[in-house]
Symmetry: C3
Subunit: 211 residues, 3 copies
């Protein structure tokens, strides 16, 4: 009977966690929470349209970019494809937070057509972007958050902890995920989902924005 | 071995229930089943657009209103936000039914930024709206279905049973969910998902409409 | 302790399988993977619009047709409804594969309004469509893949194995699902999800297309 109770509680807990956006951890990079991709490296465009984005400025964000900030049913194709074996996305978080961890998720092995486009060696940096900041102010504030390697042999959602003693508990409302290599494709690197975890110091504005 | 069989069957049952629109209970207020929000209190609109809907008549339904009738991945933001600490939605069900229960679902605690916008004290009324009915006929038919309090300490989908001895098994094709309070926000009240459960007496028209 | 470990691993495996597009099996008929419905029998259109598609040629594919190739939350209505008690869809797969199995999924019993529109006796054929093929070349290459009966008493996603000794390991990039009967509705037959499983012989083009 004790065993049955243990099994029942574990099943309910795991299903509940899955039902809560997959992981059951607050994500400040979530599109429906107000986060946005504001910049990225050149997107992969099948059919000869590569380079289409090269002539556009900072405002040109590909329509697929928001897939990086959205949940899916775990099926292949629900990703943002960047050209070549490396690339980056810059994300404006829903609010300023102290970053404690990030999660990178690729399509699961069981349903993937090919996983050579999965990111491998990545770095995450962050900073606080104020309304009146110029470029030199931004540069001063950039913090290194975490380096990680995405491992194809582990579960497909992989969480990496930030050493918060280094970041000195500083607020960040912008993060940049840069991947310098992938798992073999020379053509494209696919980003399925990137999440940013942490906490926001209580503030009236944070409460006003919540939905 | 008996224990393994028990565990296996329980897991499969729970995952199957989750895969069936989360609860595994028929929902007559489901958007993809044909139900629609037809009226609601003033929506919350960030950025100074509050009041935008005030000048419009019955036909003006906010584009976010259908989120109340749709499933999601459990992430924050997949809701319809009403202005202030109270509000209502009126829903035309997919067909006339005898209402046996309703379910109100808010975002799960584990992924929420803030839950002060969750509804608290709510009431559900229902009536049957015929094609040629005028206002006085409608008023006569209004039935009180259930009063409930949404509890932040319980699982996020909470089902409340209608005392069907009171409603005398009458058919209803319209319901109104009114929440007179929320869990603390003075700014907005968020409705994530509302479901209406019951049964439809067998009829040729019900069968024709099914998909 | 051994029992706890067994239970824990089983739960994690089942939730992971569910999170991987429901089944955890590669699907070459997936819309987000590049597959498309290219042809179908007359769609069911409520409200007197039946026949709307009758006058259009091969290029006229109903906007709901892609639902057959997409996952959902398991709620009713996320289907493509065909007129009458029989019907077909033709699907261009994301790439040429050797077909090993197919899966037909209807809405789960627990949340369905009515299941008389579920397909019953079905047949799947396949062929390879080259860019310069004419009709007679296509006809020569048509392979019978599998006959099956969808059973309302079994779990709602039902997988049927192809006898690959018959198909001689031939490549297929087109499949046609034809259902000659349903479970009782004379009005409509609903297709919720159809998947095609198999393997693609390694090729540079297959790798180029992957996302
Ligand atoms: K995604
Ligand atoms: K919702
Ligand atoms: K579907």
């Amino acid at each position: 009977d004790e065993m049955r109770l243990f099994a029942k509680e574990m099943v309910e807990r795991e299903v509940e966690r899955h039902a809560a956006d997959g992981l059951g951890i607050v994500d400040y990079a979530l599109w429906s929470g107000g986060a946005r991709v504001v910049k990225h490296s050149e997107p992969f465009t099948a059919g000869g349209k590569a380079g289409f984005f090269g002539t556009k400025g900072r405002g040109s964000v590909h329509s697929n970019a928001q897939k990086v900030l959205e949940p899916s049913f775990g099926e292949p194709g629900q990703c943002f494809a960047l050209q070549g074996s490396s690339g980056f996305v810059e994300i404006k978080l829903r609010s300023g937070i102290v970053v404690q961890a990030v999660t990178l998720e690729h399509v699961a092995k069981s349903v993937a057509y090919d996983r050579s486009s999965a990111p491998k060696d990545c770095q995450v940096i962050g900073w606080y972007d104020g309304p009146d900041d110029d470029a030199s102010m931004r540069a001063q504030r950039i913090m290194h958050l975490v380096d990680f390697t995405y491992d194809l042999d582990k579960p497909n959602a992989q969480t990496f902890t930030v050493d918060t003693s280094n970041t000195d508990q500083q607020l960040v409302n912008m993060v940049r995920l840069s991947c310098s290599s992938n798992h073999g494709s020379s053509t494209l690197t696919c980003l399925y989902r990137f999440r940013v975890h942490g906490f926001e110091p209580g503030s009236p504005s944070a409460i006003t924005l919540q939905t």
